[in-house]
Amino acid sequence: MSNEFIALAVPAILLFSAIFTLLFGFSVHYTKSRGYFITLGTLFITFLISANGIGETFTLPVLPHIFNSMVVYDAFSATFISLFLLGGFLTLAIAKSFVDNTCFFTHESFVLLLFSLFGMVILTMANELLTAFIALEIASMSVYILVGLNRNSLRASEAFFKYLLLGSFAASFYLLGMVLIYASVKSTNLAVIAHYILSTNLKAQLLVIAGSMLIMITIMFKIAAVPFGAWVLDVYEGASFPITAYMAGVFKIAIFAFILRIFLQNFIAYESLYDPLIIGGAMVTLIAGSLLAVTQNSVKKMLAASSVVHSGYLLIAFASIGEATYSATSAIIFYLFAYFLSAIGAFGVLSYISKGSDKQINYDDLNGLAKSRPIIAASFTIFILSLAGFPSTIGFIAKFYIFTSAIEAGYAILAFFGALAACVSIYYYFKVIGHLYFKESGPVESLSGEKFSLIFIVITAIVVLWGGVGTSLLYDLPGINALNDLSRYAIGSLSL
């Protein structure tokens, strides 16, 4: 049932729901939990709708006459939209206890969340540079605000400030890049650009190359690749846990949806030009992220720094796209999925432990958690293992794909490098587990058990495990194979 209606339904429902919540928020009937469940329900419904479209290859320009072919709905976007809608859903579901415990999480937050998802949906579907930019801005701006929501917190406001300033700075590169491309191509439509690149010689493409470089830099900023990702530690630290999870897991997916589309459709021709840059970037990112992660005392900052490392892994696959398009792309998709599950789980657990407070969770705050909350500790362990890429978790399979694609592309050295970074990551990840299990706790605080969040944490943990060992032996459940198929359909729908 993949027709225009569905293509429009998802953003429309999100938009509608956002505005409804905004208005409903002013009504006397509004309570936080109502707002919460409206949002959650919206996410769930939209996820179901978009998930309907995945699993086959199709391309569908949405209202091409009205929208001037600026958005396109294809298997690629459907896959990504489903992914981050699911991500948003899980984030919100796990954040239930956090939402309940904090006062700054008002109805505007739900509205902004929905708007940001709307922006991501459009970003994923965008087939035109300016549209993509606006969508990106919608999403990022919502996230900026979400970061700064807790305006009484110095940390939050500072994080907001940094994110906003640097984000705007980075965004202007995109615009400059767009203009440079436009100056050459005389159009901003991706398909036209692709055609231009294929049909002209390199001399005519100098500005296109420079422009694509600038656009890439914005993207690198968003996915926090070194040296453009210096903000990530501070912002993640300042933001509240669910928002951090949202940024780390969900937002990244949308960014990658766009970067993959634009790279695969247009700039793959410059692959040999870019590869050294991306490889260098991947290496620097891996090194810097690993270095940062080992020095952190706060678990949250450690996870933030490690998300830089994960960007490094993604860049490895990204570098391999030119030589091993299919496997690298599906590796990226799988990795994003794996990472968002694990990161959302890990941050979710932290937010669950923090009970909505602004407190920084240090390693020592985890001491003895295994005794007081064994299930939480076990789930946390699973997420951590998955982040570390330990076998039998989804994170391992993801790394496996990344390394395979790197080797397939002839960059065995990158895979080696990634392995080294993974080895270092063992240290800081297992430190967490060590604190969870091996250290005696101080006075045990009783955690008010929010069942709802707990259930979703556990479900996420189980999915993480299943993603690691899931086989097609049990035919009823989609396993690793199913995800692979999915990404294949998704890539197939791009006009390569």
Binding site: N68, V111, L112, F118, E128, T131, I145, A183, L206
Partner: protein
């Protein structure tokens, strides 16, 4: 020829005023010189017959945004002692300029090397409100609508963030 001379003058004005903007110590000076930059840019718009955009630039930038900045500066009542004491400002300016030079030069070089000019003939309608409007609503409906959402988001954000504590 006349255009070229005008361009050169405006170019100089805009560059100088923007340099002043980034180097002035007090924000109010920066803001004022920024207005000069904006107006000169608007004039550059006009130079190529982009009349509508000339108007928009004047109204929105020089009028609205800059007023807002000035308003904020005054509203916050920033005194001189609240201003950062920028001891190493000039060093920073110099250093950053040196760092950025390759970037600028490379881009300028690329622009000079590439063959982008079409020299299409402009008809009379060009740059008028009608022309721009027609293009906007025939080809750029979606971005236009999206921008409205963006503004809504910004609005919500601004309201939420600057709200006093409940």
């Amino acid at each position: 020829m006349q255009n070229e001379i005008l361009f050169a003058i405006l170019e100089l004005i805009s560059i100088i005023s923007s340099v002043v903007m980034i180097s002035a110590h007090r924000p109010i000076d920066s803001a004022l010189s920024f207005i000069v930059t904006l107006i000169s840019i608007a004039a550059l718009f006009a130079l190529v017959n982009a009349t509508f955009l000339f108007v928009v630039q004047i109204i929105i930038y020089a009028g609205a945004i800059l007023s807002l900045i000035l308003f904020i500066i005054m509203f916050l009542n920033i005194k001189d002692e609240n201003l950062p004491d920028e001891k190493y400002k000039n060093r920073w300016l110099l250093g950053t300029s040196i760092i950025i030079t390759p970037f600028s030069l490379i881009l300028i070089d690329l622009i000079l090397r590439s063959d982008i000019a079409v020299h299409a003939l402009r008809d009379e309608k060009f740059g008028t409100i009608k022309d721009v409007g027609a293009t906007l609503f025939s080809q750029w409906v979606l971005p236009f609508e999206l921008v409205s959402i963006l503004l809504l988001v910004a609005l919500i954000g601004a309201v939420t963030l600057s709200k006093k504590e409940a």
